[in-house]
Symmetry: C3
Subunit: 270 residues, 3 copies
């Protein structure tokens, strides 16, 4: 009986160890495949991927029908497309840098209700350009900026916080949020929405900022996400001060709902 | 070889055991942290947390700007805020008790599409009061009532059922559902929505109730949740009878989609 | 010490093995329960279940009040109800076959934002019939067809692709998408939405098809899902050609976001 058991134990354990090894090998193989794919996805339309299940694409000559369907000016022969499952603020602030840095226009910004089971939005952003290299460049800049703009996104299983800041808002922020062009601009986001309400109150009390917008789950400013979003512009120091005050409060509040440590998705930049 | 194997087995098993112990310790530590945090969150705005990733907050003196943005009467110097990721019915029925029990008003009830990957809504509820202690009390009552109002919420990975009943509807139920003030009022909710349709038919056939509303994924009564919601008032006995009949049917139907046992989220109260 | 350890190992391993056996037994028991339940759910309204957490129901004599609430013609004494957590295209194309095959009408098609944390829709479809056996038959056909219509749904944790094709569109596709009755009709769906944009461009370039609709997260054609959906009709060969070209591109794009193998939910049919 004991012998028998002993051999059973060994069988079990060896099976386990075998599985582990096999799955490790598979994982490594998978990683290699990913690298290869990312490098070698043979479609000329593919630009790259980024955090938040984000993909960047480009169409050199948009089909005549699609131009009509998208309701965009025919002069934009080429479009750049950036969209992801998780993140709207990070993508819009990243796209704003892309518009500043390239010869492209923001044609469309839409916010699906997503975040893969989370409380917020995904995104779909379309750039227009007369030349495909400009469209591609806009997508590349956006994808690269995401690493930074996810820096002040803090999440747990219970919700998330997001803060964004720019010293000079451009056309993407203007289109998405009505930000005054050329001025310092920031946002605070809290989910569940109750936290976002307090962040908004904290932000407007912390410094002398001009409120641009206030979005809630039901007032049309969100796609029924469980967020309250405050957007504001003003003096650069004031905008930052408001964000930093709200961020401090937000972290304390979201921490009451979960024991998980609230960490930046990448590296805080504000 | 066998020796070698034996030591490998031991290493593996000991590692496992070690991990278990470490993770147990971590969990306990985490629990303690949570208690401490919940007790000691130093923000005066923090009131408490409850089931459904719900947080309760209070603002003693709402900022002038926020008053405007929220479009609420300036006489409500203080607001109470209750919001969660999972649950709308439970929160609205709980808030209804808070309005009855305190010197506060319901200013806003919004339903984000949430439930953390589930089929339903989260919630954002705002109470107004002239005095901060009244706003705080309204939030406290709501948080406390949630334990009860989650009692007839039954969920599985496939969907959920919700039933609520009150002998006397007040201003929260009136604002959210148009419930006649002072009358007995109930709701049936089924998700996926197909189940909710049959619950509605069952409820209206089971007793002589007055239908107040019927909400579906696409008719504007929900935030695109996968639910059908029937709301009805009438004689107290009739309302309860309708709910109990629908609950019996709902449990049988939802059970066909999953082998999980359908359990109350807390303790059934109807 | 070593003895002691040895017995600990055995205890651990035996516990593990015991658990495994117990959980296996439980699983088997659960499966049996499911079968039994599915077979024996005693409600006459229950028709069956299908992939996507889909349930099919029938009401022989819809309550007078519910007729009013649903805003449906009183002549449809009986209704069939099909709804699920995951899938809208598959359900609508399946319902289209049901309408062709039975003496029933499509009364309502609604798309909740669901897919259980995914990027797309669930569904609620209601058939009307003068006779309950016709309503039941419509539901049965729909549930049976789902196995096929999920064939060109490909998903990973990062998103999904969906392709549907019919040689002859009928009333369900007309109601949901405005498909011209009797003509060949197809759809391409990509999520995250960025992928859907490129699928649309690919489809319209691949063959001479007539675009019927183009839905995005924010243009009202979706319930804020993270999808772009192109619908088109035309010559049967052209419609298929467009779909096949888009499918090829979609698989390559979605594969860049995840190392998971993209597999059909059932068996591809296009």
């Amino acid at each position: 009986m004991k012998e028998d058991l002993m051999s059973k134990i060994m069988d079990e354990v060896m099976k386990k160890m075998g599985e582990t090894e096999i799955s490790e090998v598979k994982e490594e193989a998978a990683k290699e495949v990913k690298c290869e794919e990312a490098k070698s996805c043979s479609l000329t339309e593919f630009v790259g991927t980024a955090i938040g299940n984000t993909i960047g694409l480009v169409i050199a000559n948009v089909d005549y029908n699609l131009h009509e369907l998208m309701n965009i000016d025919k002069k934009y022969r080429s479009i750049g497309i950036v969209g992801g499952r998780t993140g709207a603020g990070p993508h819009i602030f990243a796209a704003d840098e892309a518009v500043k840095a390239t010869n492209s226009e923001i044609l469309l910004i839409e916010l699906p209700r997503d975040t893969e089971g989370g409380a917020g939005h995904g995104s779909l952003i379309i750039f227009g350009a007369e030349d495909v290299s400009d469209a591609r460049r806009a997508v590349e800049v956006t994808l690269n900026e995401l690493e930074r703009t996810f820096g002040d996104v803090y999440g747990s299983s219970a919700g998330h916080l997001e803060f964004q800041y720019t010293a000079r808002a451009s056309y993407a922020l203007n289109k998405a949020f009505g930000a005054p062009i050329g001025k310092s601009f920031g946002i605070t986001v809290g989910a569940p929405a109750a936290i976002g309400v307090l962040l908004a109150d904290t932000a407007v009390k912390a410094a002398n900022v001009d409120v641009v917008g206030y979005s809630t789950p039901g007032n049309g400013g969100t796609s029924y996400s469980n967020e309250v979003i405050l957007t504001f512009s003003g003096d650069s120091g004031a905008v930052r001060q408001s964000i930093i005050a709200a961020r401090e409060v937000g972290k304390q509040l979201l921490s009451t709902l979960s024991t998980e440590e609230l960490k930046s998705s990448t590296i805080p930049y504000i």
